[in-house]
Amino acid sequence: MNGYGNSVFLRTAWEVSGGVSPVNTVAPAITGTAQEGQIVTCSTGTWTGTPTITFAYQWKRNGSNIGSATNSTYALVTADVSQSITCQVTATNGVGSASATSNTITPIAAVDPDAQAFITAAAITNPTQKAAINTLVVDLKGYNVWSKMKAIYPFVTDKIVEADIKSQMKFNLKDPRDLDVAYRLFWNGGGSWSANGYTPNGINGWANTYLVSQGTLGLNSTSFGVYSRTNTNTLAPAIGNVTGGVTGECSLWLNFGNAAYLRVNSSILSNIANFDSRGLFIANRVNSTQVQLQIRGTQTTFANVSQNLYTQPFQLGGVNPNNFDNKQLAFGFIGDGLTSQNMTDLNTAVIAFQTTLSRQV
């Protein structure tokens, strides 16, 4: 007999004879955002059985126990990204115990704050595109290229209607909250906008960055470039300070009679003959006497003479002044102070970005 007048022996006998082991009727469920850094919660599910059931939790990664992850909540870590995460709930009462496993979640990587700002501003909801933007930002930061970028135009959209696509594609990845309106694209003339990028019509279309190199970029360190998806033979610059004619001091001409022409605050024309204009092209002033052109990761050095930077804004699909580029642009950037290694790394990051979006060439 215990102090309450009950028989310990009899009570145990009742449990054995009248109790029921736990039986799961509704599986446990994981709730919360499946993303690195987020806390997710596992419910017990629904169980039957008497007497009263107590619960224990074990979180698992690809079926193996995660050490010390035995609470109903769990903070997702980097090792969980793209893995199968489940929670096993074990129910126990005086009669017995049983286990049930939750649904599976597959966490995505944490979103970089700069990537998230762009995704929010451009209202991008497509998971693949969000991941591509995030990876691009993470890669550029990892390569120490991000801080050298003044403007990045990724030309990403998840819209269908062309007018909506234009509104998404105007955002600058470096300044998506539009803190400096000079960095946002404005469209001039005609063109077409799709998931594959922006294509000026070749008649009168171009995109204006309103970013003036003089006062913004270094005299001997200006860099800019585009990723073109087409090999159109054109007679106008793909990017440059070219408003008003041919006097622009910073411009990159792709496939002008099978040549790439560039000048980065220089007075001497540089060119390479016979090439395919698809892929990432970078024009980069590396010092007081040299400009580098990078074509799909291959660099060439040209000697040039320094001049002042230009006072007109950068344009994509530029005008000269009566000829217009019609290449399909899937990436554009304006930077300052890139090294040769930065150019190579930028090419790698952009190719990965385009591959994720299935628009690599």
Binding site: G189, G190, G191, N204, G205, P237, L269, N322, N323
Partner: protein
């Protein structure tokens, strides 16, 4: 030719013909959000805009462009890239 008569494959070979007054009215004006008219001159110094600008114009102040006469586009000769 008018816009309603244009075939899809002719969009990049025809352009809208403007008078000098009409050109001045369109310069610096939005035909859609974030999108500006860009009148240029063809080989004969006609002022023109593209069919895309006409089709995509949602600014009621300039709906009159949808009634412009369309002419074949003849670009100006290409100047050398740098001089």
């Amino acid at each position: 030719m008018k816009l309603t008569q244009l075939k899809a494959e002719e969009k990049l070979t025809y352009v809208g013909l403007l008078t000098e007054v009409q050109k001045n009215e369109l310069v610096g004006q939005l035909y859609a959000p974030d999108s500006y008219f860009n009148p240029i001159q063809d080989i004969n110094d006609n002022w023109i805009i593209s069919v895309e600008e006409i089709e995509q114009c949602v600014n009621p102040d300039y709906f009159w462009v949808k009634d412009l006469d369309l002419i074949p586009y003849e670009p100006k000769p290409t100047p050398p890239p740098f001089e």
